[in-house]
Symmetry: C2
Subunit: 160 residues, 2 copies
DNA sequence: TGCCATTACTTTACATGTAAAGTATATGTA
DNA sequence: TACATATACTTTACATGTAAAGTAATGGCA
């Protein structure tokens, strides 16, 4: 069933120049892998990862949010959020409303249709998470989480 | 100097639904952060992360490589490699040569100009790695690497 | 020899992500 | 009130990444 011995990992060869580099490349590689997997799941529901994230944030907030507030909760740069919301609006998953008091602000809200889709995804998503790293036990997960948080620590302090 | 209390992390709020989810989100978030930082460094040399990776792979190989071989060493899907190499070629960082024996194959090679840039980046890159996670000691790095490798394990076996 | 499947790329269409510049509003202050 | 700034977005230009379909060459086999 499986093709010959295609690419095992990503045919690595270069001996790492340092443990730091090895760790960083491992993070990037693992993230890419998981990102792809999750992306496939979202695609089954007609969403991309970013779109899903916007909707999840809106659901979590429970009420309309300004565009920039949404962008700040994602890792994204400002300009990207506009097109993202444009596409969500076209799919009728969010609606935009100008704020009366401050007309520069645009409030974005998830529609019922979006909430329905999110609800549908909830379970498969939890399953997907389990499938992806369910083979690590709770202690290992805790360790991993701790190490990653520590990794981000110095950067967390300044800005982005 | 630092703006008020802008966004600390990425204003998290939702309590994680499971440790698995927390771990995955941590991986994605950390990766994004590092990816951005490295991207800035590459940009100083006129390269994007992907472009740098292609060149690094070519340097590691030491000789011309078929496009698909390059793509397989990156996490990328096939179509993306074409445009990527197009842009590198336009910058005179790689050259393309059709294989005589199998005219479907296109060999890609790094130019001297590319090798010079890579050499210039080497040291700053090692510094950047150190700066990003140099605060983890060797044991922690080893643990982190081990956990990430274990995380990818089940997926590594089948295909992508 | 002739044809089909495979292989190695390309092309096309579209969703993102980054950077830089522009627009509409608000706000603080002289 | 008039003006310089700051805000909250948009727009524009590009580099990627994904999926799906198309093209050119090879190879295997009847």
């Amino acid at each position: 069933m499986t093709p010959p011995g295609l690419q095992d990992e990503i045919k690595k060869r270069e001996p790492f120049e340092s443990r730091e580099q090895e760790a960083i490349l491992n993070i990037l590689k693992t993230s890419d892998l998981f990102h792809n997997r999750m992306g496939r799941l979202f695609r089954e529901y007609g969403l991309t990862s970013s779109q899903y994230n916007v909707l999840r944030i809106l659901r979590g907030e429970g009420k309309p949010m300004p565009s920039l507030e949404i962008a700040s909760r994602m890792i994204q740069v400002v300009p990207a959020i506009t097109g993202l919301i444009d596409r969500l609006e076209k799919q009728e998953l969010v609606s935009r409303v100008r704020c009366d008091k401050d007309r520069r602000v645009v409030y974005v809200a998830a529609t019922q249709k979006a909430l329905d889709i999110l609800a549908e995804i909830d379970e498969p998503l939890v399953d997907a998470h389990k499938k992806l790293i369910g083979h690590l036990n709770q202690d290992e997960l805790k360790q991993l989480i701790g190490l990653l948080e520590k990794s981000r620590e110095p950067v967390t302090k300044d800005d982005s």
